[in-house]
Subunit: 273 residues, 2 copies
């Protein structure tokens, strides 16, 4: 299985601290050695850094860790291959364009007996179940909303239906973003934290590194960090209930009308942090 | 206007030497300061590095210059903005997927009174004439060949027709690749060189840097480098005749049946190097 990391903020923020801990899981503190990638939205544009090498000794990961790219939405992934060879085309996150927006997707899980039909609008380039699921999602969104982006409520509802259908094939934890919102679906395991004033010192779980966010932020800043497992060992992370799709915007989960759960649980912690 | 750099090889080759000279044009030896980008195909996958900062003092460009990524097809671009603000979403090269292949596009020129209609299959994210032309091309290819990639001859012919139509709006030098072939269209200015055995020493025109390719290659290696203007000052570069679309494969222009020119010239130098 893989590791997911996402960030959604109300002001452009760099992810250097969180990425430092995450990067260590790609071959140092954990066994996710089959490549890694990270996507930064900046305005309408997106930058994706991909590397089929382990992140723990990747020169590109070193650059990302040291070079502060400020972004409202970030999605990163460290791969432990289940389906698809260790190749660049199978490295998450994946990118496509829909409605004149770039979309970014990364998946943790393993979908079995899953062979969606593609009409040609979005076709997988690699051989992972994950990219197939991404193309499936976008194909369905394009078909349901051919005239452009729907309301946030309609988009959330459509993604929940798709998560239920595809998630029937196996673990389907994913992060998805169009640069405006970050969608986080927990199928088996996904956690998040909201950092906001008063900011404190955070200490990484995977490396002996601390950062005092009060020195780096303004009182209005709000940052949501979503990860497969908590990245710090002195903060309270919230487990997202399996079967839940959260939509993050401006650094917090967004209430989108019907926020009941997908599969019978409760919408975890939304608005309570 | 902008600067283009492309590379097409018969064995995976790094572009560090050529990129060193190219990078200097982004703010040191030339005035193309409005961002830069480079795409490396590796197998079916592609890595795109984008930076809205000038390449001459970009940390990401430094990484690309020093970190040998071996690729059969590379497209790079340094931007001097004509249309569209200096923003990430307007930074070349652009990426889309068609027929389960990634496509990469970069443009040097300026298209006026050009407003193609988009049916939703490919929609520009940014505001450049270049990305609009890329979406126009892919939309037309998808419509003409809905069942998948056509023959190389049919693809070449379709691209020539599109280059004529779009090029009627202004200078339309471009590089386009699907990872298998690299298409180079000269509208006003584009040059190329084929490096093959016996390899010699090359010296950059933009920096006092030389490389002895005989030390880095095998006798079977063949590398085509395409650039807006020659990158070295001790080799013979071939000017591509305006109105010509060349298809490069395995490090050489490919004869694709009808290789007469687009606009009355002659297919420049193909096979003569």
């Amino acid at each position: 299985m893989c590791q997911l990391l996402g960030m959604n903020c109300n002001v452009p923020t760099d992810i250097c601290f969180s990425f430092a801990g995450f990067q260590a899981r790609g071959g140092v503190t954990d066994h996710h050695r089959d490549g890694w990638g990270i996507a930064f939205f900046e305005g309408r544009g997106v930058r994706v850094f991909l590397d089929p090498q382990p992140s723990a000794n990747s020169q590109i990961a070193e650059l990302v860790r040291r070079y502060p790219i400020r972004s409202l939405n970030v999605i990163a992934h460290i791969r432990k291959a289940t389906q698809g060879e260790v190749k660049l085309e199978n490295t998450h996150p994946f990118q496509r364009e829909l409605w004149g927006q770039y979309w970014i997707f990364a998946h943790n899980g393993n979908l079995l007996d899953y062979a969606p039909g593609f009409d040609g609008r979005f076709v997988p380039v690699g051989s992972t179940d994950s990219e197939a699921a991404f193309c499936d999602i976008l194909q369905c969104l394009a078909a349901e909303f051919p005239d452009g982006p729907p309301s946030p409520q309609a988009l959330h509802a459509a993604l929940r239906r798709l998560a239920i259908r595809i998630g029937a094939h196996g673990p389907f934890n994913f992060l998805l973003s169009n640069g405006e919102r970050l969608f986080a679906h927990c199928s088996t395991r996904l956690t998040y934290i909201i950092r906001k004033a008063p900011f404190a010192v955070a200490h990484l779980a995977d490396q002996d590194v601390s950062v005092d966010f009060s020195q780096l932020t303004t009182p209005e800043d709000r940052v949501a960090v979503i990860a497969t497992t908590p990245l710090t060992d002195n903060e309270t992370w919230h487990a997202i209930a399996p079967g839940t799709l959260l939509t993050f915007r401006h650094g917090a989960p967004e209430a989108l009308g019907d926020t009941a759960t997908i599969a019978g649980g409760s919408e975890a912690e939304a608005g309570s942090v």
